[in-house]
């Protein structure tokens, strides 16, 4: 379970290296405004990534988070415009996310449909459903209390970061210290062993999707209140960004190993690259290519470490038991 630690360290190392280069070439990167911008843009990504970490730890995947993000953001705006109090609209966004996530989770856990299929369907259906419902129009003319949820911009920025940090710390702590967290790891590592140990693996599969949906709704809300209109195509490509951050952070795509702290460094590394390019004077079109290279490096590191671990465990294991007739 703590094997991911070396990965966290090496990703953090890569991040530090990047920041050192940027500091030498373009110190402007470390201006207060730029750092605030980076944090604000990535706090919602982090919140979704925390949920995604749970999903991937159980050996599943959720590619519908981008679409859920859009539905929840637009939903919150529509509710607010309809005259509902802003807190109700905010709760509505989280609740919508949780319901959509629970649909994914129910199909995956109880009907045993592969999660890639379930969430692919959800991704397409929600995205196109939203496009049809809004006719592509943005939600505009939001009530004045909606933006920054009625707080001042600076105090709200601090609040977003606090919320993201709070969720991250809570889930990270829970994964380490709660029986439920242990069950998540066990489910992803060896479902049969977990089941035989009396763990209701289906229930955990259901809940990780539901939690991810709720967190996505929250992230969408925190993101949408930063602007005075909500685009109906928000969250496009979010799923890939989030999955990439989780994988780069050392969580095995096959489940069972990984950590929230890894996901945190993964989100920061991938989030810091894009703006850094701008400051380094490199064409921003390189951003995706560099992110891709980081993901590839992470996956290769995964395979290599698995192979090394496998070899060392083989060395210790005794002769094969398959010699019987």
């Amino acid at each position: 379970m703590r094997k991911g630690y070396s990965r966290e360290a090496s990703v953090a190392g890569a991040l530090v290296a990047l920041l050192v280069v940027v500091a030498a070439v373009a110190p402007g990167y470390f201006s207060r405004e730029n750092l605030t911008d980076i944090c604000l843009a990535n706090a919602p990504v982090l919140i979704v990534a925390v949920g995604m970490t749970l999903v991937i730890l159980t050996g599943q995947i959720d590619i519908s988070v981008g679409s859920i993000f859009a539905v929840c953001g637009v939903g919150a705006g529509v509710l607010a415009k309809a005259g509902l109090p802003v807190p109700i609209a905010a709760l509505g966004a989280c609740f919508t996310g949780a319901v959509l996530g629970s649909l994914n989770g129910g199909l995956v856990a109880y009907l045993r449909v592969p999660s890639i299929v379930v969430t692919l369907a959800a991704m397409v259906a929600l995205r196109d459903g939203l496009r049809w419902a809004t006719q592509g129009a943005w939600v505009e003319d939001l009530p004045s209390g909606f933006q920054w949820l009625g707080f001042s911009q600076s105090s709200f920025s601090a609040m977003i970061l606090l919320v993201a940090a709070g969720i991250t710390v809570t889930v990270g702590w829970g994964l380490r210290n709660l029986a439920a967290g242990r069950a998540v790891y066990a489910t992803g590592s060896s479902e049969e062993a977990a089941h035989l140990s009396g763990i209701d693996t289906r229930r955990y599969r259901f809940w990780v999707f539901t939690i991810t949906g709720a967190l996505t709704g929250l992230a969408a809300l925190l993101n949408s209140v930063r602007f005075n209109q909500i685009p109906s195509n928000s969250g496009l490509g979010l799923e890939m960004r989030v999955i990439a951050a989780v994988v780069v952070g050392g969580t095995a795509i096959t489940g069972g190993t990984g950590s929230i702290s890894g996901t945190v460094v993964g989100v920061i590394l991938l989030g810091a690259v894009g703006p850094a390019l701008t400051f380094l004077g490199i064409n921003p079109y390189w951003e995706k290519a560099i992110q891709g290279a980081i993901i590839l490096a992470a996956i290769v590191a995964d395979r290599v470490s698995v192979r090394v671990a496998f070899r060392s465990s083989r060395k210790h294991a005794s002769s094969p038991a398959s010699t019987s007739a």
């Binding site: 703590r2 709660l178 242990r182 049969e192 069972g256």
Partner: protein, 507 residues
């Protein structure tokens, strides 16, 4: 006399220092059905793999059709006309019979044009030669078991096989289906092919085989003409003398009945009307051949298979066990056979593996008390002598024997009343093996009721107070420690009741 189709001389093979075959001799003549028998682990499968080229023998010679074969591989086996039909047919379920046959037989590159008519003719012809009639256009997935086997046989004939190896072909067939398979074998024999026939069912062997070779512990015990040997004599050859190895068994007093099964049946698991009871302090051995339903019975007790009828009582209280969680709640623990897949979680440290089935006991409000978890794990590391650098070491880095002990620790941590061990020492080195046996006796002394499934007869004989022998999903017989012999267990496992006289001769 005709020259043999296949002749193996002093074949030996070892896996990681363990002898699987030791100087085995075997021959097969044209038009002969030669049965290969032996208990679990006797070396039958290994010998077959040597014939099919799946594994290379360490020493010995293999002569096929008068020519000695060196560097035997699956490809040379096929070109020499050796074909194998396994217990489970391996057809592509979505392709038709003709396509399945063509897939193995048609050569040509990726781009050669398919001649559908020729394909059909080929398939129909081969199936006819196998003595059956199946429409080549049928999809393989819709065929019955014996029909699938006939397609496998047709594939082998089409590949020019004159030596057909059948590994437990009848294990999933009904009596009538067996009959039709035997007709196919008879027609192959009439065409001059040789058949190597592996089965646990003695009556089948006596009705189909011309000669019988018995393997035991990787050695040829003997080859007999079917007409010259009786079932009892054959079982005697298979069983041999009790092994001299010493088991750390102690007599401990037995307490009240801990587990009782009354007429338990589960059609999903193939378990039929099983009744028995186990007392606390008692070690009950569950013997039987692979496929006799031992593991399925254990899984049924543990709530993995649905109960159709019957009842299970733990400490004289009727319990409803529908899931592993309920089984643990009721006081039943199950250490499964394949520990790498079902037993321990390789990525997790020893401590987390130990506590996995008893997380409730070491947490409050769902919060794991790390200190209590460590104490729990350290207690079992000490009690079971688990060799690990610390309880934080990842289980994947431990040896097989120690992994097994961690799996055992997990179940002991649930404070069970009944412990079911499925092949507890399989794939475990000798030292850990007797270590595990010693712990089992300690646990029994502590009042635990233990059910031990094992394919190793010496282990069953050495460790059990009482032995239940399973045959075809039900209890074929019960033997006390005093009366049990390898011979009697094997007889019951093969569905052959020993006569009183034969049993006495054995003692």
């Amino acid at each position: 006399m005709l020259a043999p189709l296949l002749e193996a001389r002093s074949i030996s093979k070892a896996f990681a220092g363990v002898r699987a075959l030791n100087g085995v001799n075997f021959s097969l003549f044209p038009g002969e059905v030669h049965a290969l028998v032996g208990e679990n682990g006797a070396g039958k499968s290994t010998l077959i793999k040597v014939f099919t080229g799946a594994i290379a023998a360490d020493s010995g010679s293999l002569t096929v059709a008068g020519r000695e074969v060196r560097h035997h591989t699956p490809a040379t086996a096929r070109s020499l006309g050796i074909g194998a039909i396994y217990q489970q047919p391996s057809l592509f379920p979505h392709l038709t019979v003709a396509e399945n046959i063509a897939w193995t037989l048609e050569g040509g590159g990726l781009w050669h044009r398919v001649d559908w008519k020729a394909r059909q003719r080929l398939a129909a012809g081969l199936i006819r030669r196998a003595g059956a009639s199946i429409d080549p256009e049928r999809v393989a997935g819709t065929l019955s078991m014996p029909e699938q086997q006939i397609v496998e046989i047709a594939k082998a004939i089409g590949a020019g096989a004159r030596i057909l190896i059948m590994d437990e072909p009848t294990s999933s067939l009904t009596d009538r289906e067996v009959e039709s398979l035997f007709q196919v074998i008879a027609s192959l024999r009439a065409q001059g092919s040789g058949v190597i026939y592996i089965s646990h069912r003695l009556n089948e062997i006596f009705s189909i085989a011309d000669r019988i070779t018995v393997l035991r512990d990787g050695e040829t015990i003997g080859t007999r003409n079917t007409t010259e040997v009786q079932p009892t004599g054959l079982i005697e050859m298979m069983a041999g003398r009790p092994s001299a190895s010493v088991f750390p068994k102690r007599e401990v007093p037995h307490g009240a009945i801990a587990l009782e099964l009354r007429n338990v049946s589960s059609s999903a698991a193939g378990v039929r009307a099983v009744s028995f009871s186990v007392r606390s302090g008692e070690i009950v051995g569950l013997a039987g051949l692979v496929g006799s339903g031992r593991t399925e019975l254990a899984e049924t007790i543990f709530g993995l298979n649905a109960l159709d009828s019957g009842e299970i009582l733990v400490e004289a209280r009727r319990v409803r066990i529908g899931s592993p969680a309920e089984a643990i709640e009721a006081g039943v623990a199950y250490v499964p056979q394949d520990r790498r897949r079902h037993g321990i979680v390789l990525e997790m440290p020893v401590a987390a593996n130990t506590s996995l089935a008893s997380l409730g006991a070491i947490s409050r409000w769902g919060w794991i008390d790390g200190a209590r978890e460590r104490i729990l794990a350290e207690r079992y590391v000490a009690q079971l002598h688990i060799k690990t650098p610390s309880v934080d070491a990842t289980c994947g880095t431990l040896s097989g024997g120690n992994q097994q002990k961690v799996a055992l620790a997990r179940w002991l941590a649930t404070s069970p009343k009944v412990l079911i061990l499925d092949e507890p020492t399989q794939g475990v080195d000798v030292g850990s093996k007797s270590e595990i046996h010693r712990r089992m006796v300690d646990l029994a002394e502590g009042g635990l009721a233990i059910i031990m499934i094992s394919s190793e007869l010496p282990e069953i004989l050495g460790m059990s107070d009482r032995i239940l022998v399973m045959h075809a999903g039900s209890i074929g017989g019960v033997l006390s420690r005093a009366e049990a012999t390898q011979y009697k267990i094997l007889s019951l496992a093969l569905g052959h009741r020993p006569t009183g006289e034969m049993a006495r001769i054995q003692e």
